[in-house]
């Protein structure tokens, strides 16, 4: 288990297994897990290639060091599992790709910030450079399996461990249902059209009805199930952390497409165009809404390193 640019929630998610965690721990030998054992990077480097059976990696690739560790673990492991939304899709830190790396540093530290060693230190004591963009794990190394979620729900963690300790699924398998989250949501769906878009703080939703029907942008239709519809049950729309269903392809664009299909402002036709646009204008941050967890998996940032320009403007 290793983390790159992450929040630690993935590591803590194991604790949510409760007693089952101790059972899992008794069946495996932990070679490397900074949160649990004292093995170091050097210990991993000393292992022969493929010596580790499974490496679970969580977090966004954000620094050069993150990428080096991913490559090191790939070399030493038979299987790599992208654990959690950041490793799977880039995650919320991936929204940083809407800006240039230099803008990010300037926003936090002011203009002209350059990482340097501490006073009296040698050059290698400087903090590692940020990568030009946040990346999902699969951008650096081959990924065998995915445990999705932010963080992965306990049910999916167990499912993954059962498989890893038992019969392995085909490469590329995502340990989550293929069905959309809507299928496990207890809310009742009726309307198949949307006459207004509302934001969660603007209305107190009906406790029984589908949130999308009530005008909230709920990513349930394009997102995998596996969390027992935790957010919609809590009165909040799904923001898509479990990633796209196999049918959805690009989760955000699929949602965009579905939403545009549902929008109505009276009888469809030329006369309704302006009012339809008004309904759509209520979606004030489409990228942050549709691609909250998956921006790096969908779009790439223009980068001087890749021969792109340095100004605003990007290549999806």
């Amino acid at each position: 288990m290793y983390w790159t640019g992450s929040c630690g929630g993935c590591d803590v998610s194991f604790l949510e297994l409760g007693a089952a965690l101790l059972d899992v721990l008794s069946k495996v030998e932990i070679v490397f897990w900074p949160a649990l054992v004292d093995a170091k990077r050097a210990d991993v480097e000393a292992l022969p290639a493929g010596a580790i059976d499974v490496a679970l990696i969580n977090g966004t690739l954000r620094t050069e060091e993150n990428r080096e560790m991913a490559e090191l673990l790939r070399e030493k492991s038979k299987l790599i599992v992208a654990y959690g939304a950041c490793a799977h899709l880039g995650g919320i830190p991936g929204l940083a790709n809407l800006s240039q790396r230099e803008e990010i540093l300037a926003a936090v530290f002011g203009d002209g910030f350059r990482p340097t060693p501490p006073p009296g230190g040698s050059p290698e004591d400087a903090p590692p450079e940020l990568l030009a963009e946040a990346l999902p794990l699969s951008a650096a190394v081959r990924v065998d399996y995915v445990v999705p979620g932010c963080p992965p729900p306990p049910g999916l963690i167990s499912r993954a461990f059962d498989a890893l300790l038992g019969e392995l699924p085909p490469t590329g398998h995502v340990f989550a249902p293929e069905k959309a989250l809507c299928e496990e949501c207890p809310r009742t769906k009726e309307e198949r059209r949307l006459t207004q878009v509302v934001r969660p703080h603007e209305v107190l939703p009906d406790p029984e009805k589908c949130l999308l029907d009530q005008g909230m942008i709920c990513l349930g239709p394009v997102t995998r199930g596996g969390c027992d519809a935790a957010c919609p049950k809590a009165g909040m729309p799904c923001t898509g952390c479990l990633g796209p269903t196999p049918n959805a392809g690009d989760q955000g664009l699929a949602m965009l497409s579905a939403l545009a299909s549902l929008v109505r402002a009276g009888e469809e036709g030329e006369a309704a165009f302006a009012s339809e646009d008004k309904v759509l204008d209520a979606i004030v941050d489409p990228v942050g809404t549709f691609h909250k967890y998956a921006l790096p998996a969908t779009w790439r940032v223009p980068s001087p390193l890749r021969g792109g320009g340095s100004g605003r403007g990007g290549r999806p």
Partner: protein
Amino acid sequence: MVAFLCRWCAGAGADLAGTSRLQYPPNAIPIRVNCSGRVEPSWVVDALRSGADGVLIGGCHPGDCHYVVGNYKARRRVYLLRKVLEELGVEPERVRLEWVSATEGARFARVMTEFVKELRRLGPLQGNGQG
């Protein structure tokens, strides 16, 4: 540039432009679809990712769609997609939706000429083909 053209209207309009020997820039890779309402936003993005500097979606005029409301759906999708592209720093003008009927060969040629001119003004999409 990639052009998604509906087979009933814009596609037929393109054919007419061809058989009428109208001159227009040869920059488009045309892709025939049954209806503009069938064009998924992800196809448009795939085209841009794969090196296109712009995407044209050609559909029927309002009221003429063979599937009644497909072109309305396409319009709403493009409207929203352009907002997404803008937020990402991609000029929304790179994605264009045009109504072209089967009899409007001249209009089709004009649309192509204008769009190519517009894309030349915008220049290549950054990082082109490396996404």
